[in-house]
């Protein structure tokens, strides 16, 4: 019934438009000099609005941005991003100004004559070559960095962790003392063997799986981590924004990504950008009467995966190597875990 009501309202709006337009002069259809003048000036006003918005966003939304990269590999990402952003910022500011200024400056008048100017190879060459040169720099740095991140073949003694995704939770398995993961396949999923590990594989016995209840993924600071991603059902994407890390989890194949944590969670919490951002968040939370927020690294799902996609996350805690070792030695191996059950 309500839908009918809305449709009725829409009809009413339509009818009132009809009435308004009856009054409006439908005879005026082509821009006159007066229109050109008004609209040209409006373009200037609009550019003022646009500039105000751009500057406002750049200054006041700065505090919302992700803090500096918490992984060593991500430093160059931040660098490259800053270079790119400054570049596009400058071009944006200039181009919009020129566009709107011309729209104002050359607004038509009856007595004016436009300049017949059809071509200039020199100008065209300039604006073909300039972007090309700039792009060479961006592409060069970008590809170098891409290679830097994605090439995991030269990682020395990395910690290998399998991140496993399913609707709608994350699980993780560490490779154990041999630092080699046992095979996994959905056919082995049974009971507490939720990640489908093939226990007949010798590498699997010493693997350590995180507790299924509120799993927290611990990572050591300063050691290269190589993640192997698997998915149980649909596509997911393991997104760890603070580390500038993301990789899709694809059913039927293993994907990988690696980085070296640069700060522990504790160090991150006192980092100035994080402190500023947390203060803003907590001010909002206080107004709503919610518990204060404390910074944590996070792994979230960033590929649409079903109804509860928006809640799929896992906490990540980065600690010093010694503390990690202590925590790690306390975790039961899969062999122990599955044998008891």
């Amino acid at each position: 019934m309500l839908a009918l009501f809305y449709i009725f309202i829409a009809v009413a709006i339509g009818v009132s438009f009809w009435q308004i337009t009856r009054i409006l002069n439908f005879r005026s259809v082509i821009a006159t000099d007066k229109d050109n003048d008004t609209q040209g000036k409006l373009f200037l006003w609009f550019s003022a609005f646009l500039y105000a918005m751009m500057i406002y966003c750049l200054i006041f939304m700065n505090v919302l941005m992700l803090p500096e990269s918490a992984s060593i590999e991500g430093e160059h990402d931040d660098n490259l991003f800053n270079i790119t952003f400054i570049l596009i910022g400058v071009v944006q500011f200039i181009m919009q100004f020129v566009l709107f200024y011309f729209a104002y400056k050359y607004r038509g008048k009856k007595e004016n004559k436009a300049l017949f100017y059809a071509d200039s190879h020199k100008l065209e060459a300039i604006w073909t070559i300039t972007p090309a040169v700039v792009l060479v720099v961006l592409i060069g740095y970008g590809l170098w960095q891409w290679n830097n991140i994605m090439d995991l073949s030269d990682a020395k003694d990395p910690l290998i962790i399998e991140v496993y995704s399913k609707q709608f939770q994350w699980e993780a398995r560490y490779a154990g003392d041999d630092n080699a993961l046992g095979r996994g396949n959905v056919n082995y999923i049974k009971g507490t063997n939720t990640m489908g590990v093939d226990m007949s594989d010798l590498n699997a016995q010493d693997d350590k799986q995180l507790s299924a209840v509120e799993p927290i993924m611990y990572l050591p600071k300063g050691r290269k981590i190589v993640f192997k991603f698997r998915s149980q059902d649909v596509l997911h994407s393991a997104y760890m924004p603070h580390f500038r890390a993301q990789m899709n989890c694809v059913p039927g194949m293993v994907t990988e990504f690696g980085f070296t944590p640069k700060f522990t969670t504790e160090e991150m919490r006192v980092q100035s950008e994080v402190v500023a951002k947390t203060a803003v968040i907590n001010k909002i939370r206080k107004e709503k009467g919610e518990e204060p927020y404390e910074f944590d690294f996070i792994l979230l799902c960033n590929k649409i995966c079903g109804a509860s996609h928006y809640g799929m996350q896992m906490k990540i805690v980065v600690v010093e190597q010694e503390e990690f070792n202590k925590w790690y030695s306390e975790q039961p191996t899969l062999g122990e875990n599955l044998a008891i059950k």
Binding site: L2, V29, A103, N147
Partner: protein, 589 residues
């Protein structure tokens, strides 16, 4: 109406018409209808984003079983996002834009009596109509419409166990798209053949208006890439219904292992984006073509760098078919491929920059007639630049890692292809309305429509970049599970308010459009004092377009404000129809 052509009944004139002008109007009105649905959906899900899980009677009214006490269900949120994307990209900006203006302008601007095959043209529209109907029907199936995102990645789109929308809703989506693709292919082939074969005497390829070049190249990209999507759709239908494993492997869902072995979702992603990326240009190039024509006409100047414009359209078209992998940098494909796609992707910046600079130079020292169509064209250049620049971030694989699938992407593509193409479409409607309906649209409403749309577009999509840079993923029903995103909640409210403003502003357009059809001022033959051939046809539509012989063309389309040595207009006015022969001693441009 002239009476020299054969009899028409109501059905042959208005319904199963083979006249390209009528078919173009059919495309436009259907596209507008679908656009209303698509935009309305975005209003609904923007309400949920701004005020998560707050009750709205409008949601209660329209979402029926897919809401609880005025709060939409998470499934339905995803469905709305999915169908919004599908409708806007395919039904509005592909069929509504390209279908309308290719049909209207190709025969008129090259000097042909009609399309090469009027019958196929009619079939093209009716297939589009059927696919629209199927898509609309899919909104009403019990488990809800397709909800795996407009990219319908399997396995989510293949398994009803994974999400309810992947049942009958998805089946109808696939059927609708298969029909749509057939429509698009038939249309595109017709456009290509017509432009190749039916140009009038003197209309060399290098004398065609840029609209023709844009539509021509667009049709070629469509023919090259749409069949690949069709194959993806068919294979997905096989996987869903006949148990094949093209895209599925090793799946355990709801307590059981499925039989699928050896397929890969990454294959689907390749097939999808092999169309999906060129699709961006299928949407955008016609808008750029329309804009080129309108900017030149209303600047009273030749378009700057005509040949460079053609070259950049071709370069964009070519590059667009070899960059699809930039949607898949982190899909698990080989990182080396990522490098290749980064390289090809960033190259697109060069022809795009050339186009933007050429538009701006065309304005320089012009005598700008700021008609609504011209405002929309200038607006397009603005959003094309803003949106295009952030492409440098997304196209760079190393940077894409961290912004992939965040709101940064949403902001980028909405500005560069969504808003830009829509602005181009509006520009086209305002400019060629007199040619379509023989009436003029009201300019005051047009001005209001433009400024409100512009403000809303930037108000929605500019701040959205920053939400993305805060790391917020797209397609989240609510962000309340993540305290780290609490600080973007206010911005989402502002964005939604701008979105509602933008949505309401479109009512001005609808009112202007439909009222002008009936009450608009009768159009003159050449209201914008334009050079191109369509303005030599009579205002009242006739079959065959020109009453007598088809006119002969003697010059290119851009002889605006051409003067002799004394600074006087060579032909007495600041425009010269393409049919006007060169004077003695006049330089051909």
């Amino acid at each position: 109406m002239s009476d020299h052509h054969h009899k028409e009944t109501f059905v042959t004139k208005y319904i199963f018409s083979q006249d390209h002008k009528m078919i173009s109007k059919q495309f436009l009105v259907t596209g507008i209808f679908m656009g209303v649905i698509g935009v309305f959906m975005s209003m609904l899900f923007r309400l949920q984003i701004a005020w998560p899980e707050k009750s709205f009677t409008i949601i209660e009214a329209f979402l029926g079983p897919h809401q609880t006490d005025g709060v939409m269900n998470p499934d339905m949120y995803l469905a709305l996002v999915t169908i919004h994307g599908t409708i806007m990209v395919f039904f509005v900006l592909t069929a509504g834009l390209s279908g309308t203006f290719s049909n209207l302008l190709i025969p008129l601007q090259i000097g042909a009596r009609d399309m090469a095959s009027g019958f196929l043209n009619m079939i093209s529209y009716w297939l589009f109509f059927i696919s629209s109907v199927v898509m609309v029907i899919s909104l009403f199936v019990e488990a809800g419409p397709a909800s795996a995102g407009w990219t319908i990645y399997p396995p989510l789109s293949a398994l009803p166990q994974a999400i309810p929308g992947s049942g009958a809703g998805m089946t109808l989506w696939l059927v609708s798209m298969a029909i749509f693709i057939a429509s698009s292919l038939i249309g595109s082939l017709n456009y290509i053949v017509t432009i190749f074969n039916l140009r009038t005497k003197g209309m060399k390829m290098t004398r065609m208006p840029l609209t023709m070049w844009a539509f021509f190249i667009t049709a070629i990209i469509g023919v090259v890439s749409f069949p690949v999507l069709l194959s993806a759709v068919l294979l997905l239908i096989f996987d869903r219904s006949f148990g094949t494993s093209f895209f599925l492997s090793d799946i355990f869902i709801q307590g059981e292992v499925l039989h699928y072995q050896g397929g890969s979702p990454v294959l689907f992603e390749h097939l999808f984006w092999f169309l999906g990326h060129p699709e961006v240009y299928i949407v955008l190039l016609p808008a750029l073509g329309i804009t080129s024509e309108i900017i030149a006409t209303n600047s009273r100047k030749p378009i700057f760098g005509y040949r460079a414009m053609i070259g950049s359209i071709m370069a964009i078209a070519f590059l667009s078919t070899i960059v699809w992998g930039h949607h898949m940098f982190i899909s698990g494909m080989n990182p080396f491929l990522g490098s290749v796609f980064t390289f090809t992707t960033l190259l697109i910046a060069i022809p795009s920059a050339v186009k933007a600079f050429n538009y701006i130079t065309t304005l320089w020292k012009g005598n700008l007639q700021l008609n609504p169509a011209m405002l929309f064209s200038i607006g397009l250049v603005s959003t094309f630049v803003t949106g295009g620049l952030t492409g440098l971030v997304l196209g760079d694989s190393a940077l894409d890692i961290n912004v992939h699938d965040t709101y940064f992407v949403v902001a980028h593509f909405h500005l560069v292809m969504g808003v830009s193409a829509i602005l181009g479409m509006f520009a086209g409607v305002y400019h060629w309305f007199p040619k379509m309906y023989g009436k003029m649209m009201n300019k005051t409403l047009g001005y209001w429509h433009f400024w409100l749309t512009m403000i809303a577009a930037y108000g929605v999509f500019f701040p959205m970049h920053f939400i993305g840079l805060a790391g917020l993923p797209r397609r989240y029903y609510t962000n309340t599970n993540f305290p780290m995103f609490d600080d973007v909640a206010d911005i989402n409210v502002v964005i939604t308010l701008f979105a509602i403003l933008g949505g309401v502003a479109q009512l001005l357009f609808l009112a202007n459009f439909f009222i002008s059809i009936y009450r608009g001022k009768k159009a003159e033959q050449n209201p914008w004092k334009s050079n191109t051939l369509e303005w030599t046809t009579p205002v009242e539509h006739i079959h065959g377009n020109w009453p007598g012989k088809i006119p002969e063309v003697h010059r290119w389309a851009y002889d605006y404000s051409k003067v002799d040595e004394d600074g006087e207009y060579i032909h007495g006015e600041d425009f010269v129809l393409q049919t006007t022969p060169l004077k003695d001693g006049e330089d051909p441009s």
